[in-house]
Symmetry: C2
Subunit: 182 residues, 2 copies
């Protein structure tokens, strides 16, 4: 969910610039998690802000994600999962955000967890490759500035190429999508 369909990364950068000025450039964050480049007290302040669930209530939708998930849902059984237990107060706001921006996702197909090894699925599209280590299906990296150097998995750089990437990884499932493999 975060950094894949909800622009949490952008909201974190906005928060940093608002509170601490533009000390973090896209270049400084290239290939690194935001929390890994912050001084300890700034990281603590950002975590405190994120522990207030309101941080997650109005995140921008990542471009193209609604159309792409709607298209995927025509061919596959679609679940949306978020490692929301890291910020428990985000549970309610995240649920409402999904209902508002992705009304076609069955609420019973929303999964809030912490350790995604518990997910039984053929495919997991995630910005954090750490979730793939014990995942039983195929991990697909969704590009975010922090994961540009991650290799070893298929990659979706933008949602408008998602169906093409999926049709290459799962040719049978997407056989009738009308999308040629890239």
């Amino acid at each position: 969910m975060d950094e894949v369909i909800a622009d949490t990364y952008g909201a974190m950068l906005d928060w940093l610039v608002d509170r601490h000025g533009a000390r973090w450039s896209a270049e400084a964050l290239h290939g690194r998690q935001i929390f890994d480049v912050l001084e300890l007290e700034v990281a603590d302040a950002l975590r405190t802000a994120m522990h207030d669930g309101a941080f997650f209530a109005d995140l921008p939708v990542i471009e193209g994600s609604q159309a792409a998930l709607a298209a995927i849902a025509e061919h596959c059984e679609l679940f949306v999962t978020s490692a929301a237990m890291e910020f428990p107060n985000s549970l309610g706001p995240k649920f409402l955000w999904l209902r508002r921006h992705f009304p076609f996702v069955d609420p019973l197909n929303i999964v809030f967890c912490g350790d995604k090894s518990i997910i039984a699925a053929d495919c997991l599209i995630d910005d954090n490759a750490r979730h793939f280590a014990r995942f039983g299906g195929q991990g697909i990296v969704f590009s975010s500035p922090h994961n540009v150097d991650v290799t070893g998995y298929p990659r979706i750089r933008r949602w408008d190429e998602a169906l093409a990437v999926l049709s290459e990884v799962f040719p049978a499932a997407l056989a009738h999508s009308g999308v040629d493999a890239p």
Copy 2:
């Protein structure tokens, strides 16, 4: 979670007796879900009460569940899952309830979902056998008045027999539990 470690069933019966008098006996509910025996308007009122997350904040802990899960966690990787998406306002209260009563459960091992077919586990202990239909592991029924007639799965009637049942179903995992198979 509900009716397995949290006594939601008892709280629902208490709510019915408080609001509508003792019209529902244990006998009337034997083998049936509470919602299946209520008149439409009473069912609607109960659902409304449950959509207020406070309903789930102070549920009694089911007898023996804390000791049993602590013992299981010594031998197995333990996750707690709840079909909480049916009552989205329960998400926050359920998380806090688990932290309070089951502090030894890693919060990253809490999973809130709707359709438990998404759970990748060797074993699922649940009062609702409907969750076993598409579950990839072994379902184990935890006894509740509504499921007394369910057959086809191993059954745990009380938490003090849980390790014995598990050691029969998964002899390798529980080999060193010190519990003899029943």
